[in-house]
């Protein structure tokens, strides 16, 4: 890899404007040393033709299940990192619902050590559980986990059922300056639900998870956050009303951020068809009306971040009847092409939304510097070719698991290069 590289003729994306800027980008070492409409002199530089391509800051995913420790048949941190790179993501935050859970300093250190050995080690972070073993009863070793490097607390996969426990956890976490992320649902209302409670769950004869389960919990957690002053991050929002509640809270100045997953913008409960478990996740796909409201929310700026909730499961596990199959789909590799194919290519929103919500703001939540394409900035960006398409077959995907609705399907656009400081991690 040459120390000096000139990326010529690219269309630069930024969070400030949907307009792309035609420019040449000169990289030396791990820095961008020049961004200009035309860079004539670049001796010793390897020239890379980027005409027709988008050059954008690399992405950062704050909701990823790397399944290590304990569930390595589905994924491990190394394969998760490769899957991320394959999708143009150079940093992510791991969830603690592993076996054992990430609920003390030792496990935090363990997963971070594992992360350091990957090609994007410096960009991988971890959450810690709110409660011991995610049991919703006793607080986990919050101080210890913070010292070991945890960046956020969550019992993801479960809500914290007992509001008094959640309240105490928030009060305690606030002093350690740790944001608290909530997987919002009321366990008793969700019951044995396998999908959204509605006309499709009725027709398919499946237990449903009603929208009120998420809506009520979002309202509860926001009130607790306001009462305690902690920074609350609401994970994977799926309901229009839930989003409304968050909007109103932000208007009132409460410190709440929220995530939207690409699949909740793209798919709805009708896509489940004839019990296809590739469309089973929690929280579930809801209605077309929810899709539309959430999309508008993203465009209007009510969602702080896009986060995939990358949740690998083995084919064996997913190949069961719908009620028994585990919840979750992968997302790291398909996120950008799917957002491009379904929205950007159709002019529904622009590249600024992706850069802001899937690159800049996710980093800001953890007080990490964003990586815009500017002179002097870190060389951490991707080259995306809208003219090529990506076929997500087993050979292409780097994740150990293939549980995605895009399996063996083609999406417009392809991540061609991933530039990470001194190296190109990917080039095709």
């Amino acid at each position: 890899m040459s120390n000096k590289r000139l990326y010529r003729g690219a269309s630069i994306a930024s969070e400030d404007s949907p307009k792309l800027t035609r420019a040449d980008v000169l990289v030396e070492g791990d820095r961008i040393i020049g961004v200009a409409a035309k860079i004539e002199k670049a001796e010793g530089a390897e020239v890379i033709d980027c005409s027709g391509r988008i050059l954008m800051p690399a992405m950062f995913d704050i909701h990823v299940h790397a399944r290590e420790p304990g569930q390595e048949e589905k994924e491990n941190i190394a394969t998760c990192a490769e899957a991320a790179i394959n999708g143009g993501v150079t940093g992510f935050v791991m969830m603690p619902n592993t076996a054992p859970a990430i609920d003390n300093a030792g496990v935090v250190r363990g997963v971070l050590e594992s992360a350091r050995r990957t090609r994007i080690g410096a960009g991988i972070y971890t959450t810690g559980a709110i409660t011991k073993g995610r049991n919703g009863e006793e607080l986990a070793s919050i101080a210890g986990m913070k010292a070991a490097g945890a960046v956020m607390l969550t019992d993801d996969g479960f809500p914290v059922d007992n509001p008094q426990v959640l309240r105490r956890a928030m009060e305690y976490a606030r002093d350690f300056d740790l944001p608290l992320a909530s997987h919002c649902e009321v366990k008793e209302l969700s019951g044995k639900g396998a999908m959204h409670e509605g006309s499709v769950s009725y027709a398919l004869g499946l237990h449903g998870i009603p929208s009120i389960s998420e809506e009520i919990c979002i309202a509860r957690d926001i009130r607790l956050a306001e009462y305690t002053g902690v920074h609350l991050n609401i994970q994977h929002v799926t309901t229009a009303l839930g989003m409304e509640t968050i909007k109103r809270a932000k208007d009132r100045g409460i410190r709440v951020t929220c995530e939207i997953a690409p699949h909740h913008l793209i798919f709805n409960h009708e896509d489940i068809g004839s019990y296809d478990t590739h469309y089973k996740m929690n929280p579930p796909l809801r209605t077309k009306e929810d899709n539309a409201a959430l999309l508008q929310g993203l465009i209007d700026g009510w969602f702080d971040v896009i986060a995939t909730d990358h949740a690998p499961h083995t084919e064996f596990e997913k190949n069961q009847d719908f009620a028994s199959a585990p919840f979750g789909i992968t997302g790291l590799e398909t996120a950008l092409p799917s957002l491009y194919d379904y929205f950007i290519s159709k002019g529904i929103f622009g590249w600024d939304v992706i850069v802001k919500r899937y690159s800049a703001e996710p980093r800001r939540i953890f007080k990490l510097p964003p990586v815009p394409i500017v002179e002097g900035g870190a060389a951490e960006f991707i080259v995306f070719n809208p003219e090529r398409s990506t076929r997500f077959d087993r050979d292409f995907m780097k994740s150990k698991s293939v549980n995605t609705p895009f399996l063996d399907k083609e999406l417009k656009g392809m991540v061609e290069r991933v530039v990470y400081l001194r190296e190109e991690l990917l080039s095709r």
Binding site: E197, S199, Y202, A203, N319, D321, A323
Partner: protein, 311 residues
């Protein structure tokens, strides 16, 4: 008519396919009057019943139907007490594939299991009831029975009463009757009425309003109180008084010449009383007889290895 491989639900059938199955059931019913009630149609084929939930009625109906078509009939004994998870269902299917069974009739308490099995075998799969989802042969025999009574079903009215939320019969039969042109309405306590049902179905919370809708047929559903894990209604007694077919209500049916149907078996004292079972315009026995003819018609039409059973 092009054959299908599987019969998993009513939703995926075209109107022509429904007509085909119902019309062919007529000569199969005529067959019962012969001394030799058998035809050689499925000679040498094997039908296997895979019932994860016990059911003597449906199972024997299928077995008689298959025998009358000269098929060999066998039953796969599944441990009724074992916790049956998805993977062992597929293990069973692999075993059946190795035995080269032609038709598999499946009943399971989990919705979608027949669909899963159908995807994983070349045999023809017939759904004999999967959880709350579907019971297509029940729907077809219900439609067939009503056709015998009404000839032209268009505009006729059927009131389905009982636990609509958990009833696969409410889903399949309701859909089929509507496809045949009937108007369908539901009567159920609020806690058992699903939130999202097709708009064209009127909903009633009491018998008075329901009977004002002037149904031609009342279809009673089983109330499976043993299966209900949440408090949907206070007691069987209260259920019977408010939502069951009391003797007084049977009298109203008698006065108006309204027919009565039930998928069986009947919960005496809950949906209906002992006396109510003797109601002259009850079609319950006809339903049972027609069940065999309709299942023969279905077995005549399906073909292992044919193109798809799902839409």
């Amino acid at each position: 008519m092009k054959p299908r491989k599987d019969l998993l639900d009513i939703q995926s059938l075209t109107d022509e396919e429904i007509e085909f199955v119902l019309e062919n059931a007529v000569p199969f019913k005529d067959l019962f009057r012969r001394s030799v009630k058998k035809v050689p149609t499925l000679k040498g084929r094997t039908m296997l019943t895979l019932f994860y939930e016990p059911s003597t009625r449906t199972r024997s109906s299928f077995e008689v139907a298959a025998s009358r078509l000269s098929a060999d009939v066998t039953h796969f004994d599944v441990e009724s007490s074992s916790v049956v998870k998805g993977e062992s269902v597929l293990d069973t299917v692999e075993t059946l594939e190795a035995m080269r069974v032609d038709y598999i009739v499946v009943r399971h308490k989990q919705a979608g299991i027949p669909n899963l099995i159908a995807k994983n075998t070349a045999a023809s799969v017939i759904n004999a009831g999967d959880g709350w989802h579907a019971h297509p042969t029940q729907a077809l025999l219900d439609g067939f029975t009503l056709r015998e009574v009404f000839k032209d079903l268009r505009g006729a009215r059927c009131l389905i009463a009982g636990d609509i939320q958990h009833s696969r019969v409410a889903r399949s039969t309701s859909l089929l009757l509507r496809r045949l042109g009937m108007n369908v309405a539901y009567l159920a306590p609020g806690s058992l009425m699903p939130r999202e049902i097709p708009r064209e179905i009127p909903q009633f919370g009491n018998w008075t309003d329901a009977l004002e809708w002037k149904p031609d047929v009342v279809y009673l559903l089983r109330v499976q109180s043993e299966r209900l894990d949440e408090p949907f209604f206070p007691s069987a007694a209260e259920y019977h008084k408010n939502y069951g077919l009391t003797d007084a209500r049977v009298q109203i049916l008698r006065e108006r010449g309204i027919y009565l149907m039930h998928p069986g078996p009947v919960n005496r004292g809950v949906e209906i009383t002992d006396k109510g079972m003797d109601y002259e315009k009850s079609l319950i026995n006809q339903q049972v007889e027609n069940g065999i003819a309709v299942r023969m018609s279905v077995l005549y039409w399906l073909r292992p290895g044919a193109q798809g059973g799902e839409s």
